[in-house]
Symmetry: C2
Subunit: 266 residues, 2 copies
DNA sequence: ACAAAAGTGTTCAATTTACACCCATGA
DNA sequence: TCATGGGTGTAAATTGAACACTTTTGT
């Protein structure tokens, strides 16, 4: 009856997670609002291969757990963050993508409120900028000290993203494995996720001003929106808390919250 | 340096593919148009476990190929069909989902034009009906001879679909493994795919009437659309071929084709 | 002739877009 | 006081939903 599955060669399977948050930049003066910048949570690798380089939090799947559970466990272990709903992004299984051998990566992505407090030592937030030109995506990551990590990711002939990842080919100050490709895919997915139920809420605290919400949209879509129209559009999804955010050098703003019946899954 | 990945327990990985097509039903009379029915391509299993039961085409990943290549190869081997663009649907890795052991399934889905001609012996099309009631999805599959295969799939507490799949628990005339769940997920995904670039074109021949296109939409959305409005909506995406489809007991209709610049990916 | 489908036009409502205008604050 | 952001109203443009009407065919 059953054939013996151990007779076949098997891959190792990893889960990697792209966590985005909106980090507040410094305001220019007492009058100006700060604007949020898109940030991704990365860890510095402590082991070979690519030791010392940046990578997505993630790791190998163990028996007795689902891939999603692996992702949650590894995210917790490597960054200290837990309880985030994960969405499937892609599976990467290209030959040679990991110098250690036949390793498949199941990639997930999620959004959270920015917080530096509860993060593990080797994890940190990196500002994300993504540009596209002639089918070449340029991913620019910037750390707290202004150090820049730049990666290029191309579109191959079947319209799928890929980038090279052998240790020899990866430039200094770039990302380990094909993790640059994964982040690019995640940013593209993020940009396409704003039409549906309101994922943006996940990047804000429970109470927020409508301008803060609008800024999240503007950050992700990379364009300015008109305030009056934005407010009409999101009105059905938010409700007033009765609280006021004051002391900002201009008229205080009402604090809102997401309505209970609004699904913010992605 | 590198730690030895073979020291860790590894799962087997399979690719499973949900292929949908629109099968033309018989017209009632010389006057009436036939209406398409949503159909899924399944194979009868020839090996244990679940020998003799229906299953999605698919199989184990081999070294030297990506999961997408596995999916394409297995689809070709088991059904004779090739060259379909595949979209990732989900990864299933629940403990016990396959009685043979630790087996992860990477599931893909796609659309094609209905064709019975070039299909392998063990493969066949099954009409798909999906109903939902109190978070329970009922999947009803019907073969050419009117035999019915019915499966129930529930939503668990974290809003993820699951159904049981131990050999003992699966009723007769149902699907092997958790393949009913995969098909349900694929149908839900299909229903959500019609707003974006026009996937429906993939279920039609190169030239088609606008009524045929509308019928695909009605089949997937499971509701009637108004002809005038539908035509206005899809007008930017189609162009006339100059050909006419006549001989149908009523006014002949113009044949259209998808405009070249319309992306029909899903 | 006529049932069925092909195809077009028109109306009213809803939504989107753009812009103008007033309000409240703290240094 | 005044720059800055908070907040609202309104008119024009676009899109969507509903429906009426005409055309063309094979039997």
């Amino acid at each position: 009856m059953d054939y013996d599955i151990t007779a076949y060669d098997r891959p190792s399977v990893t889960a990697d997670i792209v966590v985005f948050a909106a980090r507040k930049s410094d305001g220019e003066s007492y009058r100006h609002l700060s604007t949020p910048v898109l940030s991704v949570l990365l860890v510095k690798r402590t082991d070979d291969p690519f030791s010392g380089m940046l990578a997505l939090p993630g790791g190998f799947c163990c028996r007795e757990e689902t891939i999603e559970e692996t992702a949650e466990r590894k995210l917790k272990e490597k960054t200290g963050i837990s309880d985030l709903p994960l969405s499937l992004l892609c599976n990467l299984s290209r030959l040679g993508r990991d110098p250690r051998g036949w390793i498949i990566s199941c990639c997930y992505w999620t959004l959270m409120e920015f917080s530096n407090s509860k993060i593990e030592k080797n994890a940190a937030w990196y500002e994300v900028e993504l540009d596209e030109k002639n089918d070449v995506y340029t991913l620019k990551l910037t750390d707290d000290n202004g150090n820049i990590y730049r990666s290029e990711v191309r579109l191959n002939n079947s319209n799928e993203l890929y980038n090279q990842s052998s240790e020899a080919e990866i430039p200094e100050n770039s990302l380990a494995f094909d993790h640059a490709e994964i982040i690019v895919r995640a940013v593209l997915q993020l940009r396409n996720s704003l039409d549906k139920p309101f994922a943006a809420f996940r990047m804000l605290p429970e109470q927020f001003t409508l301008t803060e919400l609008q800024q999240i949209y503007e950050m992700i879509l990379d364009k300015k929106l008109l305030m009056a129209n934005f407010r009409r559009k999101i009105a059905p999804y938010v409700e007033e808390t009765g609280n006021i955010d004051s002391g900002a050098g201009h008229r205080p703003s009402k604090l809102f919250r997401k309505k209970n019946d609004v699904n913010s899954s992605i």
